[in-house]
């Protein structure tokens, strides 16, 4: 078929609809894969929708301000070189709308609901997407985060391999007890998680504190780590924004949390009420504050990073990708200076501490290329 539907993507399990904020292209524009076509906003967050194909935008169906169900028709893209007439496009749109059932397309969310597994007595909740024989990818979130931080990445990266995103202990829906609460104890937990899922060897990607966790796991069991992707990671420097960590632990209300969470992003408007509510819902659970305090003392004692794991990157046989937002206000991008030559370092302009959310398309492409 020469015409292709551009549909509202599903970002995270709870997304049911998205609103068109603005179009970056007009009808008639030629587009390439990865081009940002428009901005879509959910109740939680806004993000760019990228072109999945090369071609020409021949019809913009959803106008700014319109709200569509996940899977709804945003635009029609024609194959390069084809020149469908208006009647063909009308018929394509009519066919799509006639057969579209909101919420009926199970394929739109390749990731099912969260599952949980016992890891040495701890209940660990995780999301999984994709399948196949390729080496799996395991995503590890940072301090105070959870598996949902990967909402723009999990299914995107699952096209050619299984991808798992876990909630570390003390986070999300996992057991709240964190043990000694150090990178060492979290790395042991991560390796136990791989054992429990029967994964002998994996690509590991970690964000912030999760970056320190995957580095420490690699130090302990190098043979099990096919490659490392580190997003604004801990473990490569001494400093950390301790004020952020303390504010995150202490914050009780939406009004407390908003200025704290704003430090995570270059574009502070990404911090929506729903995003704050989701974080508060976890923070209110019994045991979470104590868990975060234990982790703070174990991983960032006195507001400094407890260990340096730069030596883990010395092995040139293991591919390493480091991604850092230039506007990161939590972990210093300069921590990536002076790493061995085989380590690929990508610094992203106008991006804060959450590159996988704030520059999701770019990060997904870098990770795809890194994973091969």
């Amino acid at each position: 078929m020469s015409l292709q539907a551009l549909k509202v993507p599903k970002w995270g399990l709870s997304m049911e609809e998205g609103a068109v904020v603005e179009w970056h292209v007009a009808e008639g524009d030629e587009v390439s894969p990865g081009d940002e076509l428009l901005e879509v906003e959910t109740s939680k967050i806004a993000n760019a929708v990228e072109s999945p194909v090369a071609g020409r935008v021949v019809r913009i169906v959803a106008q700014p301000g319109e709200t569509l169900a996940v899977g709804g028709l945003l635009a029609v893209i024609a194959e390069p070189g084809s020149s469908p007439d208006a009647a063909e496009i009308d018929a394509f749109v009519a066919d799509f709308q006639a057969s579209f059932v909101p919420g009926g397309d199970a394929d739109e969310g390749a990731s099912a609901g969260p599952r949980s597994i016992d890891v040495g007595g701890a209940r660990i909740s995780y999301l999984a997407a994709g399948s196949g024989e390729a080496t799996p990818l395991v995503l590890v979130h940072g301090f105070g985060g959870d598996a949902n931080n990967w909402l723009f990445n999990l299914t995107e990266l699952a096209g050619t391999r299984p991808v798992y995103a876990l909630d570390l202990p003390g986070h999300g829906a996992s057991t709240k007890a964190v043990g000694e609460g150090t990178l060492a104890s979290l790395a042991e937990l991560l390796l136990g998680f791989l054992d429990a899922l029967g994964i002998p060897r994996a690509h590991l990607a970690g964000h912030s504190m999760g970056g320190g966790v995957v580095l420490e796991a690699t130090r302990r069991a190098p043979e099990r780590v096919a490659s490392l992707a580190l997003l604004a990671p801990a473990g490569l420097g001494a400093g950390i924004n301790a004020g952020y960590l303390q504010g995150f632990i202490a914050g009780q209300s939406r009004r407390d949390m908003k200025p704290v969470l704003a430090q995570l992003f270059c574009d502070e408007s990404l911090v929506s009420r729903d995003m704050i509510n989701d974080i508060l819902k976890v923070k209110r659970l019994d045991g979470v504050t104590a868990a975060l305090e234990t982790l703070m003392a174990g991983v960032f004692p006195d507001g400094r990073q407890a260990v340096s794991l730069r030596g883990v990157l010395d092995d040139p046989a293991r591919p390493v990708l480091v991604i850092w937002g230039r506007e990161d206000a939590i972990a210093d991008p300069a921590d990536a200076d002076g790493l061995p030559a085989h380590v690929r370092v990508e610094r992203l302009a106008s991006v804060g501490h959450m590159p996988h959310m704030e520059a999701a398309g770019q990060v997904n492409r870098l990770l795809q290329a890194h994973l091969g």
Partner: protein, 342 residues
């Protein structure tokens, strides 16, 4: 995450706190049912079944059926609280407060202050509110405004199951007397409720809809009516923000003012009272603290100043309806901004 009704959410909160803390007890009329008789134990579990099953787990020592004497229930609870227990006392219908208000207003609410901060009164008073049950004028009121007016009491008015569980656990752990108002019409409303224990701090409003054109502040059942209106008007392109304060004392005035600063228009929907109720209280606060934000007069959609009627048609007309709320919102949008003098 499992869907649970408000009834189940409150029951789970009570069960988890009783399991966690042996000082938590339940006391009230028919909270289990069958005490002193030869009939079935746990015959009622409360008149609406909220405390069902707790006696089987915790026994009659901790789930205490009382005679029909509200003053005895409240007096016992207030006294027990000062000695270190954490009683959850039930006042079956809030309308019955007339016979036990001294124990609440003049005793429990005052202990901390009159004993120089040396006494704590960690009691929870659960009680039912709300019209629409064809239960006539003595079983249908929403008297949370009476308690809000008393310093020393904290007033919790949940609208959904997630809030009900977190606010109940917070209420039990709180060291002051907390009045917890449960609307009869909401017990079967379900939403996602974590299995684990969690607390929601008092004085933290919840925005149930985000909007830019009009703010609606509503409590309890009225939150659902406000949401319905917001969704309907949203389809017409009118953007309505709905704010559920969750607690009337303390009241999250900052969030109300923050929202009114953005929208410039305020509707308050309140089932408590036409005079000296929560709507009038909030309208007064906004007029005093946020007058410069207002682009139109504040609208209050309340019950009329009359007892709740028994005739079904009149009772239906008594309760603030979506149509009345919608009319109020439209009036604000049509109101011309006052000319500013130079």
């Amino acid at each position: 995450m499992a869907k649970k009704t408000i009834r189940e959410a409150i029951n789970e909160a009570l069960r988890q706190e009783m399991a966690r803390d042996p000082d938590v007890i339940i006391i009230g009329e028919d909270v289990s049912g069958g005490a002193g008789g030869s009939g079935e134990e746990d015959a009622y579990g409360g008149v609406m079944g909220v405390t069902k099953g707790l006696i089987g787990e915790f026994g009659r020592e901790r789930v205490i059926d009382t005679p029909i004497s509200e003053s005895a229930i409240m007096g016992a609870a207030a006294g027990a609280a000062t000695t270190g227990l954490r009683p959850v006392a039930e006042l079956m219908f809030v309308d019955f407060v007339g016979v036990c208000f001294d124990q609440i207003m003049n005793q429990a609410a005052k202990f901390r202050y009159m004993f120089g901060g040396k006494a704590r009164t960690p009691m929870v008073l659960r009680t039912m509110i709300g019209a629409g049950f064809r239960a006539a004028a003595q079983h249908s009121q929403s008297l949370y405004h009476l308690f809000t007016a008393v310093p020393g009491l904290k007033c919790v008015i949940p609208s959904n199951a997630y809030d009900a569980k977190g606010l109940m656990i917070q209420a039990i752990r709180d060291d002051d007397p907390v009045i917890f108002f449960e609307h009869k019409a909401l017990y079967d409303i379900a939403d996602d409720v974590p299995d684990e224990a969690y607390t929601i701090p008092f004085g933290e409003a919840n925005f149930t809809r985000d909007g830019d054109d009009v703010t609606i502040v509503a409590f309890s059942r009225m939150v659902h009516i406000a949401n319905e209106v917001a969704d309907k008007l949203g389809r017409e392109g009118v953007s309505v923000e709905v704010l559920d304060p969750r607690t009337s004392s303390p009241l999250d005035t900052d969030s109300i003012l923050e929202s009114v600063e953005k929208t410039g228009r305020l509707v308050i929907v309140d089932e408590s009272a036409a005079r000296c109720g929560l709507a009038g209280d909030i309208a007064g606060m906004v007029a005093q603290e946020g007058f410069e934000f207002l682009r139109a007069p504040i609208r209050q959609v309340t019950v009329p100043h009359t007892p709740v009627p028994f005739a079904p048609t009149l009772e239906d007309a008594y309760i603030p309806s979506p149509a009345k709320v919608e009319t109020a919102v439209r009036q604000l949008l049509e109101a011309r901004p006052r000319r500013m003098s130079a």
